[in-house]
């Protein structure tokens, strides 16, 4: 069974989210990463409404929803109780909320939780508007987006303010771990949730989750939009630990913001008039600023193209092709001098020679000796990086 399966359904099917909902996916991925030994809170909002219509509960973990603005405060009460019971290290506390409950109405409680330094992971599912009440503007609605309370019109291009920079506000509170994530990168989100739960003190993860209804995009585009928003630089994925930037997801080749904006009804007005072009330019400028600020694109000098390093060994005798069972593959993990192999789309590649895989690990998160088809789908580069690498055989089921 693929890893994480036994916790893959801690957020059960049968909830009443719209088809293609990014937030139900986000919740499921966070629960999958967190596992059973947690207590979760939630704020009033879409996730809470579509997952707890009595008597149907999608939550397999202990879960409590109280009001719109107190998810963080309820969580701090749970944390205090667990501390009193001496169980806080076995049972972790996760507070959840949408963007509205987190950045606007519940911000006071959130700031209190952070300032008290309580041992809680707060996850904000950011679908960038108040969706449960029919798409109204929130503090995290992006610049230029239409909502029912910031409609586009002769005199308006949707939201006139920039998205509130909540992650930086979290860093300013001295929150121990602050990260942004997106449901298009499930492994990245999984890793960040697990890392956060291992840290004592306040943690904040802001997960970008598309909303087909609110953004008016095709329900099948949820994942692609969640990827495009990162690849355009609009929503940089980064990690801060104790105030220092420790991780950034590079975005390889930058994509223009239009590619991200065009499929969404909430940005359609930008394409309908001349003046819209200047707004798109402003959004592009915001994206470029993120690219600059977080160094999302590696400068050419430090970008080692794998092909040009391993040209030399290519003339070695063509290796005999054989089948690798997953168990056999796992022995080629590149550690203690052993060769490093990975599988992709059924073929097994020898990546021992690439310096980017020194010690059988890549970008400190991907391990050799395994099938990386899914993870590569999520990687900032495509399969072109495998071109020219010696194929050692094929992966058996």
């Amino acid at each position: 069974m693929p890893k994480g399966t036994e916790t893959a359904h801690l957020f059960a099917s049968g909830h009443t989210a719209c088809s293609g909902c990014g937030q139900s996916l986000g919740a499921r991925l966070v629960m999958r990463a967190a596992g059973r030994n947690i207590i979760a809170t939630d704020a009033t909002g879409c996730l809470e409404v579509f997952s707890s219509l009595y008597p149907f509960s999608a939550w397999e973990v202990p879960w409590v929803h109280s009001l719109f603005e107190n998810s963080a405060a309820v969580a701090s009460g749970i944390e205090a109780a667990l501390k009193y019971l001496g169980k806080l290290d076995q049972v972790r506390v996760i507070a959840q909320g949408g963007d509205g409950s987190t950045a606007d109405i519940g911000f006071g409680a959130l700031s209190g939780l952070w300032e008290r330094g309580q041992d809680v992971l707060y996850v904000c599912y950011d679908n960038e508007a108040y969706m449960n009440t029919g798409v109204q503007r929130s503090g995290l609605t992006p610049y230029g987006a239409t909502t029912s309370t910031t409609p586009s019109g002769k005199l308006s291009f949707g939201k006139a303010q920039q998205k509130k920079d909540l992650p930086m506000i979290a860093v300013a509170h001295g929150v121990r771990y602050v990260a942004t994530a997106s449901v298009a990168y499930p492994f990245d989100l999984d890793r960040k949730v697990k890392k956060a739960l291992g840290i004592i003190g306040p943690k904040y993860i802001q997960a970008y989750v598309p909303c087909p209804l609110g953004w008016r995009h095709d329900s099948a585009l949820t994942i692609q939009l969640a990827k495009l928003v990162v690849e355009t630089g609009i929503y940089p994925l980064f990690e801060y630990e104790d105030g220092k930037l420790v991780g950034v997801r590079k975005i390889g080749k930058k994509k223009p913001v239009e590619e991200y904006l065009r499929p969404q009804g909430r940005f359609r007005h930008l394409f309908e008039t001349e003046a819209g072009k200047t707004e798109i330019a402003r959004i592009q400028a915001l994206a470029d600023a993120n690219i600059e600020r977080f160094g999302l694109i590696e400068k050419p000098k430090d970008l080692q193209k794998p092909q040009d390093i391993i040209e030399k060994p290519a003339e070695k005798a063509a290796p005999t092709l054989r089948g690798f069972t997953p168990k056999e593959l796992s022995t080629f993990d590149g550690r203690q001098g052993r060769p490093a192999y990975i599988a992709y789309k059924g073929k097994v590649y020898d990546i021992s020679a690439s310096p980017l895989w020194r010690g059988g690990i890549h970008q400190d998160q991907h391990l050799a000796g395994r099938d990386l088809t899914a993870e590569l789908a999520e990687a900032p580069h495509g399969e072109e990086n495998l071109a020219g690498l010696p194929v050692m055989g094929e992966l058996l089921p």
Binding site: W63, S66, G108, E115
Partner: protein
């Protein structure tokens, strides 16, 4: 049992400590702050093992208690006036989730205008929240009602939040002798909290669900029945209290010299003491005056109030609150109970708002009132001009002439005709 001179707030804090709450959540607001400060000292000195959380607002303070209580431990918080109103949304929610959170409310007027002195408009305004409300006449009761509140709230027939109300400054900042029981005695009276449902990975549960029309009514009906069960629970607990602490505990209400009383004064909190003095004085002059002290305002003990008042021909309800646009909440409750075969005249008087003293004169003025008034404001200061209100209009607090057709008020005499 030891009797010692304590400030009201300290008495309450020590009572809370004896109940050993796991999580205490504090947010300052005059005049309750001494209670949470006293508890903070006890935690800091190691005398009290609770986890003490300093909240960022009263809304959060009540939410912290909600979360801790849902995790299956005993909690405590305290507030007053604006703080209680800010907690309002959460208290309704705690009641709906059937969590036995206990809090003290040191009663204080509500703004505007701003006023930090005592009246009961804050707690009275939350009478519909599903929170049990117990009112203390003095600091002995303020402390004793804490033990009672935990026991009743945590009773599985009830499972509701409970609030012990004591008059700001008049009780909270007054020093008087209070008996503080030993831990053993409290433990004999108050068993450990055993939750019906709790947040526990061993047995996951979903709290705070979304009920559509098919189930919501029934869930609220169960709340109303729980409140009714609380009357029985309070009686049993009070009886048990008297056995263990060998001290009177009128958990529901207390009748003072009402056996043959024709006139009965009914009230809550410290003003009852003054009423008792007046009753004694008038009894001395041969007038049959009695006093009923209501302790349990919610649940409102309908049968007991009826029994206590049915013998009287004249009932004066004195309360430190007004449901603006109607009459005092207590008056409305009492009148509705007495609507039945035997109907004494029941009249309502508003006094002691915003810290104005309730004196014997205040009560005698009420007794002197002959009209069938609903909410006659006592002690209005004659020398104060009230903008927009002519002198005649100001004193016009008419009793509703029951039955007589009301003449239309002439146009020019309207409030804003000045």
């Amino acid at each position: 049992m030891v009797r010692k001179m304590l400030e009201g707030s300290q008495a309450v804090a020590q009572a809370v400590a004896l109940c050993r709450p796991a999580v205490i959540c504090a947010y300052p607001i005059t005049p309750q702050t001494h209670i949470v400060a006293e508890l903070a000292d006890m935690v800091a000195s190691g005398e009290l093992k609770s986890v003490y959380v300093n909240a960022d607002s009263e809304h959060s303070a009540a939410s912290v208690c909600l979360g801790a209580s849902a995790t299956g431990v005993r909690t405590f918080t305290s507030t007053s006036s604006q703080g209680l109103l800010l907690m309002g949304e959460v208290l309704f929610n705690i009641a709906g989730m059937r969590l036995p959170v206990v809090l003290s409310c040191v009663n204080r007027a509500v703004s505007a205008p701003l006023n930090i002195w005592n009246d009961q408009q804050d707690s009275l305004s939350l009478r519909d929240s599903g929170t049990i409300q117990l009112y203390a006449e003095n600091n002995q009761e303020a402390a004793d009602l804490i033990y009672l509140a935990y026991r009743v709230a945590e009773d599985h027939r009830v499972l509701l939040p409970a609030m012990v109300c004591l008059d700001g400054y008049i009780l909270s900042h007054a020093w008087e002798a209070v008996e503080i029981p030993t831990p053993k005695e409290v433990d004999a009276f108050l068993p450990p909290y055993s939750p019906l449902y709790k947040l526990d990975p061993e047995e996951p549960r979903t709290f705070g669900m979304y009920a559509n029309p098919e189930v919501y009514t029934e869930a609220r009906y169960m709340l109303q029945r729980a409140m009714e069960e609380a009357v029985t629970a309070i009686q049993e607990a009070s009886h048990n209290f008297e056995l263990i602490f060998s001290r009177p505990m009128p958990g529901i209400l207390e009748e003072y010299r009402t056996e043959d009383a024709t006139t009965v004064i009914l009230g809550m909190g410290s003003l009852v003491s003054v009423a008792k003095d007046v009753a004694d004085e008038l009894r001395g002059q041969g007038e049959k005056v009695g006093v009923v002290k209501l302790v349990s305002y919610r649940p409102f003990p309908k049968e007991m109030v009826y029994e206590a008042l049915k013998g009287a021909s004249d009932v004066l309800v004195l309360e430190k609150g007004i449901s603006l646009g109607s009459a005092g909440p207590l008056l409305l409750d009492v009148r509705s109970v007495l609507h039945g075969p035997h109907q004494p005249r029941v009249r309502g008087f508003v006094c002691g708002l915003g810290g104005r003293d309730v004196t014997r004169q205040t009560i005698k003025a009420a007794l002197a009132e002959k009209e069938l008034v609903d909410a006659r404001f006592l002690d209005l200061k004659a020398d104060l001009e009230l903008e927009g209100m002519g002198q005649a209009n100001r004193d016009r607090q008419p009793a509703l002439a029951r039955g007589a057709r009301r003449k239309r008020a002439p146009r020019k005499e309207g409030i804003n005709s000045a």
